[in-house]
Structure formats: structure tokens, C-alpha cells
């Protein structure tokens, strides 16, 4: 077995550990019933964090072995960066856990990390050669610091989500309930993306097309999902596969749009199934699980994670980014979409801090802001990398 295979297996071990850990965290919360089982809850919680740490060590070993194999920090393509992001979220969770010893955090942090790693695994995991601009030690410094900052900020969303799960009454028809269910639905859509990708991969679906891109050049493209949307002036080359229903304008990448479409279909079907089988909203299923958590403590954890994460993020995503940009391109700032969205993230958290300080936006409002902040971080990871063209685009 070569180093890269070992590395891949370690990542798989980490994934399984987080999955098992999630159930233990669930058990820790659930078993703290008033039947005198506080001790048992403690035991479950301890086991859960130990399993998480084992997973983290496996994950870190994946990272290090891949680093040794490729010769550069494994953060240079979508697969590598996203798995690293998942790892840092777990690291940040472990850090915050040992500060506040709140097991309930694991119930949200681990599933989020699982979704992120699952999402990452849908991208090609080949080792890509580095283009000249990435051949710098700043790749390591800038990307790792920025990802670490984002991960600590993500923990504030974890605490925020937990806060909202408890604070939102699943039986009262409120705006908060609607939007929280929407957030949970979005998480199901991510599972939908993973399901769709895996399903069509197992089937071995492939359809080749030629098309004309926006510069008027002839290009080839391969769809791994039934092409609902066709590229501009497409010509289908494969027999016996679905002919696209719609042809799109040259600026739209119909292949990615098709992926979004199928993720949406799979996710929505899954969501409807969940609703039909349990006859409850996801919120009302999760709400009783978090009955015991202390809202004040969650609020404080959310705020504290922003306080810890904000300086790291500023350093990694702005300061180090500027130093590297100055060295590679001769200008520290170039209004590249990724740069702009890093700035937007930074401005958003600055607004969060000022609102909290002067307007007293604590508790519920703060929790929503933390969730929006994480949405911006995900937007910067997914949409900016994959949809908006720029110096940081990966695919």
C-alpha cells in the first residue's frame, strides 16, 4: 500500500469515527434523563469526545501523510481544502469543548464536519501538480491560517444553531421556525448532493458532449449525471443517454447546473421521505434533544468563538493573503472575487461584534448572525470557487 492509499484510508477512519462520535454525543444528551443517569451521560460524553479525538488524530495523519506524499500542504484543490476545513472544524470543536465542556456542541459540530468531508469526497482526489503561483510557502501559511480562522468562526454557528434549536418553539408558527427548518433542509440538500453523486457514480453514468464556450471556442465536456441542462450549442456524442431538455447561455455552466438540479431532487425527496415517515419537521425532532442545554452558555460560546476566530481569520485571510499577493503578483490587493468575499466575511463579523457591543444583539439575534456568517464562509468556499471565475477558481 502506498503512502497515498494509507492517507486515503486514514481519512475514511476519521469519517467513521466522527459518525460513531455523533451517535455517542446524541446518547450523552439523551441519556441525561432524570432517572439518576447523570453519571451515565457523563460516560457517554467522555466516550464521545475520545472517539472524536481518535478521529481527529486519524484525520491529522491523513493530512500529514498526504503532505509528505505530495510535497506541499494538501490544501491546493477543492478536495484537499475542503477536507482540511472539516479537520480544522473538528480541531476548533475540541478546543472549545475543553474550554466549556459542553457535550451538546458535538451533536451539531460533528455532523457539520461529516457533511463537509462528504462534500469534499465528491471532488476528484487526485494529487494535482502546483501551478507556479501556488509554489510558495505562503500557500501553507495563508491557507492554513485562513481555514483555521474560518473553522473557529464556524463553531459560533454550531453554537448558534444549537441555540436556535432550543430557543425556537417547533409548535409556534414563527418566522424563526420557518428559517431554521430551511437551514436544516439545506443540510439535507448537501446529503442529496452526496447521494446523487454516489448513485450516478455507482451506475457509471457518462455522457460526452461538445459545446461552444463564451469565447466561441469548441470544447468537450463529460457529464456524470443525466444532462438536464445542455451547454451552449451542445452536441451529444454518447448513445443511449438522456438528451438535455434545455440549452443554456454560454455564461452558464450547464454541467454544474445539472449537478445542482439533481442534488436538489435527491435532497428534496429525502426530506419529503423524512417528513412522511416521521410525520414531524426536523426541527421538532431535534428540539427535544437539546432541551437541557443552557442558552446563556451557548450564547457565550458563540460570542467567544467569534472573538477567538476573528483575529485568526483577519491574519490568515487578509494579512497573509496580502503579503502573498504582493509577492506573487506585485499587488497586495486586486479585487479578485475570493479576496472580496474574504473582505465581506471580515466586514460581516466586524458588524456582528459592533452590533453585539452597542445594540445588545445577543441570544437569538446573535445566533442568527453566526449562522449567516457561516453561510457567507460556505458561499466563499463553494460558489466563489466553483461558479465565479477568478484567480482562486478550482474547477
Amino acid at each position: 500500500m502506498s503512502l497515498i492509499d494509507i492517507s486515503g484510508n486514514l481519512l475514511f477512519v476519521a469519517f467513521i469515527a466522527y459518525l460513531v462520535g455523533t451517535f455517542f454525543f446524541g446518547g450523552a444528551i439523551k441519556s441525561s434523563k432524570p432517572d439518576g443517569a447523570a453519571k451515565r451521560a457523563d460516560k457517554w460524553g467522555k466516550l464521545a469526545i475520545i472517539i472524536t479525538i481518535i478521529g481527529f488524530i486519524a484525520h491529522l495523519s491523513y493530512f500529514i501523510t498526504r503532505w509528505i506524499y505530495t510535497g506541499h500542504a494538501p490544501v491546493s484543490n477543492m478536495f484537499e481544502f475542503t477536507t482540511a476545513f472539516g479537520m480544522f472544524i473538528i480541531a476548533a470543536f475540541i478546543l472549545i469543548y475543553y474550554m466549556y465542556r459542553l457535550t451538546a456542541l458535538g451533536l451539531v459540530a460533528l455532523p457539520i464536519a461529516l457533511l463537509i468531508i462528504g462534500y469534499a469526497a465528491m471532488f476528484p482526489n487526485d494529487v494535482d501538480p502546483l501551478v507556479p503561483s501556488l509554489q510558495s510557502y505562503w500557500l501553507t501559511i495563508h491557507v492554513i491560517t485562513a481555514a483555521l480562522g474560518q473553522s473557529v468562526l464556524a463553531i459560533s454557528a454550531v453554537a448558534g444553531l444549537l441555540y436556535l434549536l432550543k430557543d425556537t418553539d417547533p409548535n409556534a408558527k414563527t418566522k424563526g421556525r420557518f428559517w431554521l427548518e430551511a437551514v436544516l433542509y439545506f443540510m439535507v440538500l448537501v446529503i442529496g448532493f452526496i447521494l446523487a453523486t454516489v448513485t450516478f457514480r455507482v451506475i457509471g453514468y457518462e455522457a460526452d458532449f461538445t459545446y461552444v464556450d463564451k469565447e466561441g471556442m469548441n470544447q468537450e465536456i463529460t457529464y456524470n449525471m443525466p444532462a438536464v441542462f445542455g451547454m451552449n450549442e451542445y452536441v451529444l456524442l454518447t448513445d443511449d443517454v438522456l438528451e438535455p431538455f434545455v440549452e443554456t447561455a454560454p455564461v452558464i455552466n450547464a454541467q454544474k447546473l445539472t449537478t445542482v438540479f439533481w442534488s436538489f431532487i435527491f435532497g428534496t425527496i429525502l426530506y419529503i421521505l423524512i417528513r412522511l415517515i416521521t410525520r414531524r419537521s426536523i426541527l421538532s425532532m431535534l428540539h427535544p434533544l437539546v432541551k437541557k442545554v443552557n442558552l446563556n452558555l451557548l450564547d457565550e460560546i458563540g460570542y467567544r468563538s467569534v472573538l477567538i476566530g476573528f483575529p485568526i481569520f483577519s491574519l490568515g485571510a487578509l494579512v497573509f493573503a496580502m503579503i502573498w499577493a504582493q509577492e506573487a503578483w506585485g499587488r497586495f490587493w486586486g479585487w479578485d472575487p475570493k479576496e472580496v468575499w474574504a473582505l465581506i466575511t471580515w466586514l460581516f463579523y466586524a458588524a456582528y461584534l459592533h452590533l453585539r457591543l452597542s445594540k445588545g444583539w445577543e441570544g437569538n439575534k446573535s445566533a442568527w448572525l453566526a449562522c449567516i456568517g457561516f453561510a457567507i464562509i460556505l458561499f466563499n468556499l463553494i460558489v466563489v470557487n466553483l461558479v465565479i471565475a477568478g484567480l482562486h477558481s478550482y474547477a
Binding site: 501538480p129 463529460t222 466586514l347
Partner: protein, 555 residues
């Protein structure tokens, strides 16, 4: 200006919320509230006290945190709009018409609208810059408005505080000591708080333990850093502070460096290396066959000696011999040279042979330097080739005249006049790649193409940015301020021992209540203090969560 005289006799400036000396609430609101608002320690703030003249009004506008947050959000939204479609500087067309056409053709009517609204160049638009400027003013004004009085108040803190101040803190405790001799309690508290790294001051039966006061300055320090940074950015507009030039240089050429007087740079070699890996899945998806590994220009940088004629490339002294690569610019005297672009295999020279068509007999070879073609090439007394016309980038005929698209030798075409002993009056021939036209009928001689020599061209950017040190200082100060404000917090514990030996305690922190409670737990156990209560927690449970209230955290 009016004064507010507190019951303790201290004269406070107008607008003070909590007496500077004893902390007693001075407003009706303060007297009624269960927990005091400790923002800025209740000091008088200029923006809250004066609102008469226009200056006051402008000052108050910019000092408002609400306005500040609104400005942050507006800037955020404006910046995001600029990422919907690529900005003009990422679009590789030059003229205005081409740009307009590009946005319309590529992005349809939305793209056209985007261009017409100026959103395709949003970051250099006047309104975006005004927004950033307003944010900067807001940062300055709000910091001065609050920072200076806060500093004064923190410096002049009294140990002993009024009962109504103590009772209205979020964390309070009152009662007799749980065990031991109450007369030793204050000593025990002092001992424990010192062990917890607090600074302890005592005044009679009162005690103030304080830790991490400098954390209160964090936000002001980071604001100073931001302002210095923005000032540095503005300085670039001053001539001489910022040079941004680009140049193309061919292999073997020596050229004057634009923006850097008296310096010349020679391109010795341009190197392009590719990775030799097997095609990865990502490359497949992106339609990339090979990935570049290295872009490099080997250069020599020369300086003209003092007495040389400006612009003349003689008397050059070598100052640097360097290989410029991406991420490894050549740096000299504040100037940096970056590898930015390249063009491979540009035609350098073309060789022709003057040949007699019938026999194939050669009269000699002509080598034409395409960047520096001569008017005539003399082969011997009676034989020469005159170059009547040269079209470096031939694009066809217009009214019978050959046209050139660009001055770069991409597709050279020539009009030769061949003077030979046989045809001393000369024969005219138009020669382009794979095309020969003989306007005056059938010639006896022809220019037969022999070979080409090619060379690479390297695109370099020349930068000088004297604002970098200022930006760096601003960045460092900002990071220091953010770290101080985020990773430290200002904790205070006030204790008073009443006549009967009972203890009254109050505690406040600007953030991180979890940690101050840990300190208090340790203190209570050590000094046998009565149990403290968190009035904030009771408050939340009683009133329901999430209601609008003033923040109790402080900048």
C-alpha cells in the same frame, strides 16, 4: 456647560450616566434599572451631550455605532455587487466600445446594464470610495468620541463605590462570610485575587481587584491600525509613491526600465517548464492538458553611470543578475520586477535566398531581423535586395495596399525589389507566408524562404510601492489591537465589608463572563464568601430571551 453634582459631592460633566467617583447612577433610567449599563463605564460622551451646531450634528452622526454598522453593511453589499460579473480589469479587451460589447455579448442584457451602471468598475467608482471614506471617518470619530473619556475614567477609578452601583451589577453577592473570622476576609480576598493575577487596591473597608484593563484599549488600537492602513492606501495617489508599469522584453534585448530612470534590463532567456504528470481528473474536468511548472526570465539589471546621456544604453554597470520567477520577484532599490506574462516563439529573423527560378542558382542569402529590418541588403556590387515594404502582422489587402494588424511580427509580409546583374532595374515581389505575388508579371528571380529563427518574449511588471511600510505598520497595529481586544478581557471585582462584617461584592467584565465566574468560584471558596448570583441570568429567564435591550458589553 452644566455640571451634575452627585450625592457624594463629586462634580460630573453633563451627560454622565454613572458618577465618576462613586458610580452612583445619575439618570432616572439608571436608578430604575436592575442591572446598570456599564458601557464606557457611564462616562459623558461628547456625541451624547452636544447637539447644537452643525459640527455637533456631523460629529454625532459619525460617532454613532449604528451609523458605523450601517456603513459596514453598505460597504459589504457594494463590494459583493462587484463580484457578480468580472470587473473590467479582468476582461482582456482594451477600448470602451469593446468592453461594452463584451459585457453585452457575454452576459446579455444584464451584462449591458451592469456595464452601463458602472458596476463593472465598481471599486474605483467615486461612490464606492466615498463609502469607504465615510467608514474611515466613522472609525476615527467614534474612537475619539468614546476612547478619550473612557481612558480618563479608567485612569481615575475609585476603589469604593456607591451601594446602588454595587447592587446593580450583573454579578452580586451579599451576606456574612460562611466560616472563619470576618476581620480577615479582605486580606484573604487580596491574597487570592493577587494569586489570580489581579491588581488589588484597597481603601478602608473597600477593595477593588482589577485585571486586564489594557484589553479595553484593544478596539481603539485596532482602529488606529485600520486608519493608518487606509491612509497608506490613499498615499498611493501621491505621485512618486507608487509606480506600476509593465513591459515586454524579448530574449537578447536590453531595454530601459519604465518608471525607473537610468536602469536597463536585459532578457537573457525565458524559460517555460511544464509538469510531466499523468493527466489528473481535475485537469480532465477543466480541459487542461499540461500544467505549467515554472515561468522564469533570466535577467541582468544594469545601471547607467552618472555621466551618461539619459536614455542611451551605453556605459552600463551590471547591478543584479537574477532569475525572476513567479513568487520570486527581482528586488532592487524599492523596485520589484514580477514575472507576469510571456509570448513564446515570436519570429525573430527570416532568411531568404535570392534564387534564379529556372536554374535554382543562388545569388546569396538575406537575413531579415524582423524587429529591425534594413532598407536594403547588399549582396555584392551589382546585386542587392531592397525592402520596399514591411508588414509585420499582415492581415490582407485594402484597396490594393497590404495591411498590418499590429506592430508585432506574427505574420510578416514583405515587398522586395530584387536588383540583379541580369535585371538591373529590379523586379518587385510581394512575399508573405505561403503566398507570393508578382505585380509586374513573371519575375526571373525569387526570394526563396530558407528558415526562421524564433525567440520568446517575457512580460514583466515593474512596481515600486513606498506605501508598503505604512501599510505594514497599520496591519501590525491592527492585529495587535484585535488580539488584545479579543484574547484579553477587563475584569473587575468590587468588595466592601460593611460595619457588621458582612460582605458586599459586585463583579463586572467586558466579555467572557464564564471566566470571571470561574475566578469568583475560586475566590468564594478560598475566602468563604457568600454565594454570588448572576442577575443577568435571572433577568433573561424572567423576561424571556431575545428581547431588545442595550448591550452590557463594552467597547
Amino acid at each position: 456647560m452644566g455640571k451634575i453634582i452627585c450625592a457624594c459631592g463629586h462634580e460630573n460633566p453633563e451627560g454622565t450616566l454613572l458618577c465618576e467617583k462613586c458610580g452612583q447612577p445619575l439618570t432616572e433610567e439608571g436608578k430604575k434599572s436592575k442591572i446598570l449599563n456599564m458601557r464606557y463605564d457611564g462616562i459623558a460622551i461628547r456625541s451624547k451631550t452636544r447637539n447644537k451646531s452643525i459640527v455637533d450634528k456631523i460629529w454625532n452622526f459619525f460617532s454613532s455605532v449604528k451609523v458605523g454598522v450601517t456603513l459596514i453593511i453598505i460597504n459589504l453589499v457594494a463590494a459583493s455587487i462587484g463580484t457578480i460579473f468580472p470587473q473590467e480589469f479582468y476582461v482582456s479587451v482594451s477600448t470602451e466600445e469593446q468592453k461594452a460589447a463584451y459585457y453585452e455579448e457575454t452576459y446579455g442584457s444584464l451584462g449591458k446594464l451592469y456595464y452601463e451602471l458602472g458596476l463593472s468598475n465598481v471599486y474605483s467608482s467615486w461612490w464606492f470610495q466615498i463609502l469607504v471614506g465615510m467608514l474611515a471617518i466613522s472609525i476615527i470619530v467614534a474612537s475619539i468620541d468614546r476612547g478619550l473619556p473612557l481612558h480618563r475614567s479608567l485612569k481615575n477609578q475609585r476603589v469604593k463605590r456607591h451601594t446602588s452601583f454595587m447592587k446593580r451589577q450583573r454579578i452580586v453577592a451579599e451576606g456574612p462570610v460562611t466560616e472563619g473570622d470576618p476581620s480577615k476576609t479582605l486580606n484573604l480576598i487580596e491574597e487570592k485575587m493577587k494569586a489570580l493575577k489581579y491588581k488589588v487596591r484597597r481603601d478602608g473597608n473597600a477593595l477593588l481587584a482589577e485585571r486586564g484593563r489594557f484589553a479595553r484599549y484593544g478596539p481603539y488600537i485596532n482602529h488606529v491600525g485600520l486608519i493608518i492602513f487606509l491612509f497608506g492606501v490613499m498615499l498611493r495617489l501621491v505621485p512618486g509613491f507608487y509606480v506600476d508599469e509593465s513591459m515586454w522584453i524579448r530574449e537578447g534585448e536590453t531595454r530601459a526600465v519604465p518608471g525607473m530612470d537610468g536602469y536597463f534590463i536585459e532578457n537573457e532567456d525565458f524559460i517555460l517548464e511544464m509538469h510531466d504528470n499523468e493527466k489528473t481528473e481535475n485537469q480532465e474536468l477543466q480541459g487542461v492538458n499540461v500544467v505549467a511548472k515554472n515561468y522564469q526570465t533570466d535577467v541582468k539589471l544594469y545601471k547607467q553611470s552618472e555621466d551618461a546621456v539619459p536614455g542611451q544604453a551605453d556605459n552600463l554597470e551590471l547591478v543584479e543578475d537574477y532569475s525572476i520567477r513567479v513568487n520570486h520577484p527581482l528586488q532592487h532599490e524599492g523596485f520589484s520586477f514580477y514575472q507576469m506574462d510571456f509570448r513564446l516563439n515570436e519570429l525573430k529573423t527570416m532568411k531568404f535566398e535570392l534564387t534564379k527560378k529556372e536554374t535554382g542558382e543562388s545569388l546569396g542569402e538575406v537575413s531579415i531581423d524582423l524587429t529591425n529590418p534594413q532598407k536594403e541588403y547588399v549582396l555584392n556590387d551589382q546585386t542587392k535586395v531592397e525592402l520596399l515594404g514591411f508588414y509585420p502582422d499582415f492581415s490582407g489587402f485594402e484597396n490594393g495596399e497590404p495591411q498590418t494588424k499590429t506592430p508585432d511580427p506574427n505574420n510578416p509580409a514583405f515587398i522586395f525589389k530584387m536588383v540583379t546583374p541580369e535585371k538591373p532595374e529590379g523586379e518587385v515581389s510581394f512575399v508573405a507566408i505561403q503566398q507570393t505575388i508578382e505585380p509586374n508579371g513573371d519575375n526571373t528571380y525569387k526570394m526563396e524562404f530558407q528558415s526562421v529563427e524564433m525567440r520568446d518574449m517575457s512580460g514583466l511588471t515593474v512596481h515600486k510601492d513606498s506605501t508598503i511600510p505604512i501599510l505594514a505598520i497599520g496591519g501590525v497595529i491592527f492585529m495587535l489591537g484585535v488580539a488584545i481586544g479579543s484574547y484579553w478581557n477587563h475584569r473587575r471585582v468590587w468588595v466592601e465589608q460593611l460595619e457588621d462584617g458582612t460582605i458586599r461584592l459586585a463583579a463586572h467584565t467586558n466579555k467572557n463572563w464564564f471566566s470571571i465566574k470561574k475566578d469568583l468560584n475560586a475566590l468564594s471558596e478560598f475566602a468563604h464568601l457568600p454565594r454570588y448570583i448572576d442577575q443577568g441570568e435571572e433577568d433573561k429567564e424572567a423576561d424571556g430571551e431575545g428581547k431588545e435591550k442595550e448591550g452590557d458589553s463594552t467597547l
